[in-house]
């Protein structure tokens, strides 16, 4: 691998700020209601780590829009990854299926960035081990392209053209103490 010259962290530029993120999630919530003709039978499953707070935020917006309670859970996909053997064994994140379950419901997977699609492939396998949903849909805050599998998102906050070498980092107050999406090249 050729050496990548180190760049200071501030070479990342912000592509979404807090209000952009909020607006994007509001729009996603509206599209979810529209597409599913309401919120009945929906379940939001966030993919750890940042998909989980995003799922909670979307659920909160759904309850504002539709005045209904949408169950939220999380689904860890570590054990379903296809690149497990390429990296050290990772600690597992939390999987929490809401008490309502997923059978016969529309599961909306929520992730922060959609890139190769491999995470979503793993998530669909994980979901099918949990039960049999009526349908699976996908919501993502950022779609940065470069898909390696025939997967597309149903709800996208922001389509972000990127180079393969670039990195997209989503920061959320629940984890990172600020809301922001930045684009740049990781220092090696």
């Amino acid at each position: 691998m050729t050496a990548v010259p180190a760049r200071p962290a501030d070479s990342f530029r912000e592509v979404l700020d807090a209000s952009d993120i909020s607006r994007a999630l509001t729009r996603i919530a509206h599209e979810i209601v529209e597409r599913n003709k309401g919120c009945d039978h929906l379940v939001l499953l966030g993919i750890p780590s940042r998909g989980v707070p995003l799922a909670r935020r979307i659920a909160a917006k759904l309850s504002e829009i539709d005045n209904s309670h949408v169950p939220v859970g999380s689904i860890d996909i570590t054990m379903y990854r296809d690149d497990l053997r390429l990296k050290p064994a990772r600690a597992l994140a939390h999987t929490e299926v809401p008490p309502e379950g997923i059978d016969g419901r529309v599961v909306i997977l929520v992730d922060d960035v959609l890139f190769s699609g491999r995470t979503i492939r793993a998530a669909m396998d994980a979901v099918s081990d949990l039960g049999r949903p009526q349908a699976i849909q996908l919501a993502t805050l950022v779609d940065r392209g470069h898909r390696e599998l025939p997967i597309r998102a149903d709800y996208v906050g922001k389509n972000l053209p990127t180079a393969q070498s670039e990195a997209v980092h989503v920061k959320l107050t629940e984890i990172d103490e600020q809301d922001s999406v930045v684009l740049g090249v990781d220092a090696q």
Binding site: M79, P88, A89
Partner: protein
């Protein structure tokens, strides 16, 4: 996040606190698998786990087998009982056979202390080795499932620690019985101490190991003195051969002095739990009604065994080889 486990699990002395907690935390997540409609994950697809049992232990073997299968590993059961000491195949030749068959991990139970250590370090094969009980040495996955069970049941009595994960800080656990010959005791003394618990081993003097200055525990000859101060008591199985070995005068006297009777159990604090690695000698080291009482978490120990062994298999085999500690090469 990197795993802290080494390429083999031979002894609980190999586990530092961080590694031990990682196994328990991973096991906690994996425990949910048994609640899923499909109790299986694709994680170890294409990996081969060999259960190499030189000693009968159906319980331990099926627990490892269930764990490996829930992670989609191919499982080969190799029952080699009696073939090592007698004129059968040597451990070395067995190892060469397993290597040729492409075993990725070998779970070994052996009547001789140190056999897993030899399998791991003698240059016979390069699979990961998991000690499923060796002689009178160690039984690390039993200790891990015991720690898991203690954490599960005694959460309210554990002192919170600064790290994100809960240990066993502040707990007092008594391990009672044939400590001298117990691999369960050896593994637990070290692991429970690593996780912050205070351990007292209780045994008649003939079954108390000598020269234990380096053991991180206290010792007592009196069960009655220890019981009122424990959060958990772990009763060890009395092996039948010990009864004929002159270690104590009779089974009756043993159970009178060291058996956990209903009367004795009543002297424990209300919250204290009763554990046993199984299989139990009801009426000898533990009275039947105590084993079946609400204090008893013996069935939970068995259930937790599968989750803990899944965690160990995942952390040893789930990632890339290069990430697995210094023993991997």
């Amino acid at each position: 996040m990197n795993t802290h486990m080494k390429a083999h699990l031979l002894s609980t002395t190999d586990l530092d606190r961080e590694a031990a907690l990682q196994i328990l935390d991973t096991a906690e997540e994996l425990a949910r698998v048994s609640d899923m409609p499909i109790k299986k994950m694709p994680t170890l697809r294409g990996r081969t786990v060999v259960n190499l049992f030189f000693e009968d232990s159906t319980r331990t073997r099926i627990s490892f087998e269930a764990a490996a299968k829930r992670l989609s590993a191919d499982v080969i059961n190799f029952s080699a009982k009696g073939s090592s000491v007698s004129k059968g195949e040597s451990l070395k030749d067995t190892a060469l056979t397993l290597a040729a068959m492409g075993a990725d991990a070998v779970v070994i139970r052996h009547s001789m202390s140190g056999a897993p250590h030899r399998l791991a370090h003698a240059d016979w094969m390069d699979a990961h080795v998991i000690n499923a009980g060796d002689g009178t040495h160690e039984h690390p996955t039993q200790a891990l499932l015991d720690a898991f069970t203690l954490r599960q049941h005694l959460g309210d009595h554990i002192t919170a620690s600064a790290e994100g994960s809960t240990g066993l800080d502040g707990l007092h656990v008594a391990i009672v019985g044939d400590v001298l010959h117990s691999r369960v005791a050896r593994s637990n003394v070290h692991l429970l101490n690593t996780l912050g618990a205070k351990v007292t081993v209780v045994a008649p003097p003939t079954l108390m190991p000598l020269h234990t200055d380096n053991w991180p525990c206290e010792g007592s000859y009196s069960l009655d003195e220890v019981l009122p101060n424990v959060d958990a008591v772990m009763m060890l199985r009395v092996q039948h051969e010990r009864m004929d070995g002159g270690f104590f005068p009779s089974a009756r006297e043993y159970s009178q002095r060291y058996g956990l009777t209903v009367q004795r159990a009543a002297t424990m604090p209300d919250h204290a739990i009763v554990m046993h690695p199984g299989p139990m000698n009801r009426g000898l080291e533990i009275e039947s009604r105590v084993a079946d009482s609400p204090r008893s978490v013996i069935v939970d120990q068995v259930r937790n065994g599968v989750s803990v062994r899944m965690a160990v298999l995942y952390l040893l085999l789930g990632g890339s080889e290069s990430a697995l500690g210094d023993g991997a090469a």
